[in-house]
Symmetry: C2
Amino acid sequence: MKSTILQALDQVRPERLPVWFMRQAGRSLPEYRKLRRGTTMLDSCLIPEMAAEITLQPVRRHDVDAAIFFSDIMIPLRLAGVDVEIQPGVGPVLENPIRTRAEVEKLPAPTFEDASMITAALKIIRDELSAHKALLGFAGAPFTLAAYMVEGRPSKDHLRARALMYADPKTWDQLMTWAAKVSNLFLKVQVDAGADAVQLFDSWAGSLSRNSYVSHVLPYSKMTLEGVAGPRIHFGTNTAPFLDAMAEVGVNAIGVDHRTPLDEAAKLVPGLTLQGNIDPAMLFAGEDALHGHALDVIQRGQRAPAHIVNLGHGVPKDADPGVLTELVAFIHSLTPEQLNAEHEGVSI
Amino acid sequence: MKSTILQALDQVRPERLPVWFMRQAGRSLPEYRKLRRGTTMLDSCLIPEMAAEITLQPVRRHDVDAAIFFSDIMIPLRLAGVDVEIQPGVGPVLENPIRTRAEVEKLPAPTFEDASMITAALKIIRDELSAHKALLGFAGAPFTLAAYMVEGRPSKDHLRARALMYADPKTWDQLMTWAAKVSNLFLKVQVDAGADAVQLFDSWAGSLSRNSYVSHVLPYSKMTLEGVAGPRIHFGTNTAPFLDAMAEVGVNAIGVDHRTPLDEAAKLVPGLTLQGNIDPAMLFAGEDALHGHALDVIQRGQRAPAHIVNLGHGVPKDADPGVLTELVAFIHSLTPEQLNAEHEGVSI
């Protein structure tokens, strides 16, 4: 029988509501921090046994319905030969930011010399993961990759990425095509190695106007998913004004951040499964507030064909893992009557 | 005769299109960096001659139509006796974050022991500023203040502020009321000393859902403007989903970030003057792209009763001041025919 996540991605409502958390693997877990000690972030993604173990840790601990492959959206750059590192407390840093036509043209070919460590990690996970859990692959969408590549490091406003987009559309096209190709390859490697479905993250798309997104970003996100087998989820934050456009990349489900209630999102992307959107802040608000809010999210999610419960963004690094475990148990315990009741939950 | 900014705030279209820039005073100007050397940010706001000079620098250099008082949204906290500092490269840092009922109750009374340095600075500016330039006062909206107070420092997600809002509405009410009172006082001091109009900044409101904004934030922003004489502008970023709710605080104009085209914003807040919304990224995109974009913004702005040209967010610290000066001259040079032409500008 298909896992509950895959049922939901087929727009079928499974018997038990499926739940997983973005960033469930990683820094919020003590067993992760222990295992990672002495290994850089990107290296840990490239050691098959370590990446597999980190992927499985939150599944064992929280009983979530999906494992999401532990990796980083910068890994395809590294595999293509770009000099990128994740600096602790900072984020992705490129030795040489890519801002001009000449710099884009000097990028290595968008191919991987060797992705066997990704394949090996996924095979370990696939072997250990029980059949009723889904294994999710993922990649960063080209805009989010390009934003890092142009800025050279995390930035609040992505000004230089947008400036390049406006000032030199041809160079922008080359850069975005490159980013789409490496993310596309990364997704295919994961699916070939056993991922059941994939999520495309466009974390920074919310810094764009709808027009900019549609003209300068959407075509490349589509390109990223070309030829990728299996169901797809697409997620961004601050993208309420163009959630419908994001759905045009060709997906089964849209991930929604905490800002847009799911009943409203269901109207914006009719026919699609919704994923989300518990406010991560609620993890710090105590059990009563968290349960009330989760119930509200779930009841609103009934307006979509199917719903995969998740947070509206990644697990905060200082979240209490016990709160997440308890939240999964609460969600799994909900009865059909509770799911369908109206106005029982607490709106935020 | 009224300055062009004040005409626009009265919903009258002045003969020449008015323009100013958020953060026009400050770090982008070499004369500012020179003057500030050796003085902390908050101290520089509290030395009348220095605050006045910094306020006037961009008016002299760029010929913008408004001076905005050089200060900081944290100044009302300092004037009320809260231990706050602006750390270079970080932002506002509170010695003691305010997260519990007990900590809120220990806040000093929301009154100023001495605001004479604010009054003195504004009187110097008023004396030196030509009559056809507007003098704008400003304050931070309570949510943005509370976000800093609860986190204790700048934060991307404001998780702890939202957690307090959800978990303990009574403490939230006390904190927001306190913040509203000090910002209200700060605005009144500025208007009494000669500010022609005020802008209320709610920079972080975009981290909220519409429901959260309406229930937990809007009433306190209204409170902040109670009894403040003169026209008001209200600005936030990432607030497209509740721009109409922001207008309910009682304002003459709404500041719009670069994500929402002004013709769409005009439909969301009919009858109000619009301010904005040149994408700051365009300052790095070259003159052709910048002019094309500015023209598009201005032509879309014709759908509002009046338009005050501005950026969609603050001047980036590494912006070239020469680009800003040239942009003001370009905007002032536009003929009525150019303003009213359709589809001449370049959409982003």
